[in-house]
Amino acid sequence: MANHSTSHPTHVHHHFVDSDQQFDTAKLGMWVFLVNEILFFGGLFCAYIIYRAWYPELFQMAALELNTFWGAVNTVVLIGSSLTVAMAIRSAQKDQMKGLKINLLITIGLALVFMVIKGFEYAHKFELGIFPGEYYTYEGIDHPQAAIFFSIYYMLTGVHAVHVLIGIGLIYWIYLRAKKGEFSSEYYTPVEITGLYWHLVDLIWIFLFPLLYLIE
């Protein structure tokens, strides 16, 4: 490949030396944002840890209300979507634009499946009167602090679900840009960076699943 510092391709902004420098800079910026995301979720995980240390028996009782099967299905769905995003990036790197678009669409499909399952889980809990905080009316768990578990559950899974929704929007935006033919093996930075974001959403769920659904 030729050195592009002299021939400056159109996607390279004037303040970067070359395409590689722009790529690495964008990626670094995304990683700094992901650090911020990890610490943001970290605060919620911290709340989880404190309350689980205070009320271990509550977490055992309350986790029985969560459906392990659907939690596991959602884990597999999210891991599958991470795989398709990785495949999408590989397609872009190899100039396979059709593969890129198909993998992005499958990813959006899997993300929607995740949200639908999550929606059914929430709806089921709302029917039982399992709401967060003071709106909690469910009688089925014999513990004075039962609402606390579900406040934490709704915060963790809710904030995660918001991230999934944002991810769907981002991937659709990448799909539209791919359709316009904006990407190639020379320039696929937005695909790579959106992929990083999506993998982080998957990473968070990898910890949420055992911590919420798999307490015995």
């Binding site: 990890i38 392990t68 596991a72 993998h199």
Partner: protein
Amino acid sequence: MSTHNHEHHISTAGQLWAVGTTLFILTIITVVVAKFVAIPPPFDVVTAISIALIKAFLVAAFFMNLYWDVKFNAMLLIMAVIFFLLMISITLLDTMYRNDVVPSF
């Protein structure tokens, strides 16, 4: 960094599927262990978190490409984890050694 594209690692489809399949298998293992193997606490949590950490490592290293990436990005992730552990430890030093849990909490 002078030549273009030489530094961008391209995983083969087989590698990506291998990582994905490993993640699927680990998911099954973590469910089976939690549901059907009686591990006395706190080691049940330790087991679940250990499997989750292995899965997280696989995603970060091979899906997020940190294994082939500029080392600085891996350092950022490690620093985030260290600061997260610091946040938990300092908070627990308070909450685990209170005489009375704050009422209504």
